[in-house]
C-alpha cells in the first residue's frame, strides 16, 4: 500500500503524508476529472491491470484503485 501511495503522490505532485487510502476523488484540487483519467492510465500501465471504463466513474477513493491491483 505504502509503495502504491508513493506512486500516486508522485503523479499528483504531492507529499506521501498528505494522502491515504481514504483520500477522495475531487477532495483535493490535484485530483480532478482529468487527473482521474491520468491515474487510471498510469495505474494500468504500472501494475498491468485493466480497469473497465464503465467502472471508472465508481472509483471514489485511492483505496478503490488499490482494490484493482489486489485482485
Amino acid at each position: 500500500m505504502r509503495e502504491f501511495i508513493e506512486f500516486i503522490a508522485k503523479i499528483l505532485g504531492m507529499e506521501v503524508e498528505d494522502l491515504s487510502q481514504d483520500t477522495e476523488y475531487e477532495s483535493i484540487p490535484q485530483w480532478d476529472s482529468l487527473m482521474h483519467l491520468v491515474l487510471v492510465a498510469e495505474i494500468e500501465d504500472k501494475y498491468h491491470v485493466e480497469i473497465p471504463i464503465d467502472e471508472v466513474p465508481n472509483i471514489k477513493t485511492l483505496g478503490n484503485f488499490y482494490g484493482y491491483i489486489m485482485r
Binding site: L34, L37, A41
Partner: protein, 547 residues
C-alpha cells in the same frame, strides 16, 4: 513587453498535454476544446493573447469521421490554417500532418480510404507551408508511426475524456514540442566533429587494418554504414563535417579513398585531424582555421574518456551522447540532427556550404602568391551586388542574423516573421549584399537594417558573414548604402556598437568608417556621422552593383 505565451490548438482535448507543457513553459489555456477554428479565423482573439509560438495538432479521425465530400473538407481546413498564418504573420506556427486511425469496417480487398486522405492532407499542407513563411511542419505522423498506433491511441482516454492518446503518447508529444520551443531560442550548430574508430566504423584501424574494420552491408558493419548514410544526409543539409581521430593520417586517407563501404569521402570533410595530439587542441586549431566560434561544434566520440576530456577542456563544445548499443547509432545521428542542427527551411547557401569552405582554401593559396592585400583582393574580381531584401531572401537573412557572431555590431536576432514585421514599416529598409568572386558565389552575406525618421537614418542592425570577412566588402557596401540614403534626402546617420563575447573583430569598425562616437554607456557606443563627409580610412576596392 515580450511575448511569452505559447498556444496549443487542436480539434481534440489536449488538456493533459497542456498541463505537461506548463511545467516548463508559459502555456495559454484555452477553455473547452475543438476551438481551433475559432482561434484560427478570429484575429481579435489571438491579438489579445499575443502568443510567441502556436502549435496546431489535429487528430485525423474525428476530422474526417462523418465527411462525404473529402476534398471540400480538406480545402476548408487548409483555408483555416492559411487564415491562422496570415492573421499572425510574425508568429511561428507549427501545424501537424494527420494520422487517421483505420477504424471503419470495409471490404477486405478495398484500399483503405484513410491512406489517401492522409496523403492528400500532407500534399495540401506542404503547399500551404510553402506559401506562408511562418508555417512549419509538425511531423505528428512519424511520432505516431514510430510508437505504433496501438500504443499511441487509447480508447479509454477517448471515451472517458475525448483525449485520443495514451499517457505515453502525451509524453512523446510534449517531449517533441519542448524541443521545438527550445530550438526557437537556440542557435543552430555548424560543425559535426567525428571520431573514427568505433564511431564511423567498428574496430581499431591501427590494429585491424583497412580490411579488418567493421563496415559493410550486413551484420554490425551495416550499423556503421547506415550511420554514415545519415551523416551524409546531414551534410546535404548544410552541416559541416570534420574528423578528429587518434590515428595515422596516411591510414585514414587510405580508408577514405579505398574502403568500398565508406559513404563519407575526403571531400565531405572541411577538416581532417588524424594525429596523436589531444583532441581538444585539434578542435581549438580547427575553430581558428575555419573562423568559427567554439560553440558551433558538436563532438561525437564512442570513447567516454575522450568525451570527458573535451567537455572539460572546451565547455563550449557540445559533446553528444554515444549509444550503449551500436545498433542505435543511426538513430542517435537523427537525434543529433534534430537537437543541434534543426532547420525549418534551408537556404541556397546551406546546400553549397561545404563547397564554399573548400573555395576558401583556394583563396588562401592565391593570397600567399600576392604582393599586397589590396592586389590580392582586386585579383579576386569581387562583385558586390546590393539591393533591398526580397521575399525569397527572408529565410536567409533571418538565418544570418541568428548565426552571425563575429561581424555583428548589435547582434540583433530576427526570425523570418520579425523581419516581415520590421519591413512592414515604410520607413524601414533591409539592405543586403550578395558577394561573388572568380572562385565562386558566396551568396547573401551582408545585411544592414536601417530605419529613417525625417532626414536622420539609424542603423538598427549591421552584420556580415565571417565567410567574407577581411576583404573590405563592408567598406564598399556601407559607403554605397550611405550614398543611396543621401539621394533620398538623409543627411545624418546614427549607429551603435553593442559588445558581446564574440564581436571584438568589429569593435573599431565604425570609427574606421568615419563615424564619430557621441557617447558610451555600459560599453555600448553610440555613433553619428554627417553623410558625405570625407573619410580617409575607407577602402573602396570594388564597384558595387545595385539591382
Amino acid at each position: 513587453m515580450e511575448n511569452t505565451k505559447i498556444i496549443l490548438l487542436s480539434n481534440v482535448n489536449l488538456e493533459v498535454l497542456n498541463e505537461a507543457l506548463s511545467k516548463d513553459n508559459d502555456i495559454y489555456h484555452i477553455e473547452g476544446y475543438n476551438q481551433w477554428v475559432q482561434y484560427a479565423i478570429d484575429q481579435e482573439k489571438m491579438n489579445n493573447i499575443k502568443p510567441r509560438l502556436i502549435f496546431l495538432l489535429l487528430d485525423g479521425y474525428p476530422l474526417f469521421k462523418d465527411i462525404s465530400d473529402i476534398s471540400q473538407e480538406l480545402n476548408n481546413n487548409m483555408a483555416y490554417i492559411e487564415k491562422l498564418a496570415s492573421n499572425n504573420p510574425s508568429v511561428p506556427i507549427y501545424v501537424s500532418n494527420i494520422d487517421i486511425q483505420p477504424l471503419k469496417i470495409i471490404q477486405g480487398d478495398d484500399i483503405r480510404p484513410e491512406h489517401k486522405i492522409m496523403e492528400q492532407w500532407e500534399e495540401a499542407l506542404k503547399d500551404c507551408i510553402q506559401r506562408n513563411i511562418n508555417l512549419h511542419l509538425f511531423d505528428l505522423r512519424t511520432i505516431i508511426e514510430n510508437l505504433g498506433r496501438e500504443n499511441f491511441y487509447s480508447n479509454q482516454m477517448w471515451y472517458l475524456g475525448s483525449i485520443p492518446c495514451s499517457i505515453k503518447g502525451i509524453n512523446l508529444l510534449s517531449e517533441r514540442i519542448n524541443k521545438i520551443i527550445k530550438s526557437q531560442s537556440q542557435a543552430r550548430k555548424k560543425v559535426l566533429i567525428l571520431d573514427l574508430d568505433n564511431t564511423l566504423w567498428g574496430g581499431v584501424l591501427g590494429e585491424d587494418g583497412l580490411e579488418g574494420i567493421q563496415l559493410s552491408n550486413s551484420y554490425i558493419g551495416a550499423a556503421y554504414k547506415d550511420a554514415q548514410m545519415r551523416i551524409k544526409e546531414l551534410q546535404g543539409l548544410g552541416v559541416l563535417l570534420a574528423i578528429v581521430s587518434k590515428n595515422n593520417e596516411e591510414d585514414v586517407m587510405k580508408v577514405l579513398k579505398d574502403h568500398p563501404h565508406m559513404v563519407l569521402k575526403e571531400d565531405d570533410f572541411v577538416a581532417i585531424y588524424a594525429n596523436w595530439n589531444p583532441k581538444s587542441s585539434n578542435i581549438l586549431d580547427m575553430a581558428n582555421r575555419l573562423n568559427l566560434g567554439l560553440d558551433s561544434f558538436v563532438f561525437l566520440d564512442d570513447n567516454p574518456v575522450e568525451r570527458e576530456a573535451v567537455r572539460l577542456a572546451i565547455p563550449e563544445v557540445v559533446v553528444a551522447e554515444f549509444p550503449k548499443d551500436v545498433a542505435n547509432l543511426p538513430n542517435v545521428i537523427v537525434e543529433i540532427s534534430r537537437d543541434y542542427f534543426f532547420s525549418t527551411r534551408l537556404t541556397k547557401e546551406d546546400f553549397e556550404k561545404t563547397g564554399q569552405y573548400q573555395q576558401e582554401s583556394k583563396r588562401q593559396k592565391v593570397l600567399e602568391n600576392s604582393a599586397s592585400i589590396e592586389d590580392y583582393l582586386r585579383s579576386l574580381e569581387i562583385i558586390v551586388n546590393l539591393h533591398e531584401m526580397t521575399e525569397a531572401q527572408i529565410e536567409r537573412v533571418a538565418q544570418l542574423t541568428q548565426k552571425t557572431n563575429q561581424f555583428n555590431l548589435m547582434t540583433g536576432r530576427y526570425s523570418a516573421e520579425q523581419l516581415v514585421e520590421y519591413k512592414s514599416n515604410n520607413n524601414n529598409h533591409i539592405y543586403v549584399a550578395n558577394v561573388s568572386d572568380k572562385f565562386g558565389d558566396s551568396g547573401l552575406v551582408f545585411v544592414m537594417m536601417v530605419s529613417t525618421d525625417g532626414n536622420v537614418a539609424t542603423i538598427d542592425n549591421l552584420l556580415m558573414s565571417c565567410r567574407v570577412m577581411g576583404r573590405f566588402i563592408e567598406d564598399t557596401a556601407i559607403n554605397s548604402i550611405e550614398q543611396k540614403l543621401m539621394a533620398q534626402g538623409i543627411t545624418e546617420i546614427k549607429a551603435k556598437f553593442i559588445p558581446t563575447a564574440k564581436n571584438k573583430p568589429v569593435v573599431n569598425l565604425m570609427d574606421r568608417l568615419g563615424y564619430a562616437m557621441v557617447n558610451s554607456e555600459d560599453d555600448i557606443k553610440n555613433y553619428a556621422r554627417i553623410l558625405g563627409e570625407e573619410c580617409e580610412d575607407r577602402r573602396i576596392l570594388f564597384e558595387p552593383i545595385w539591382t
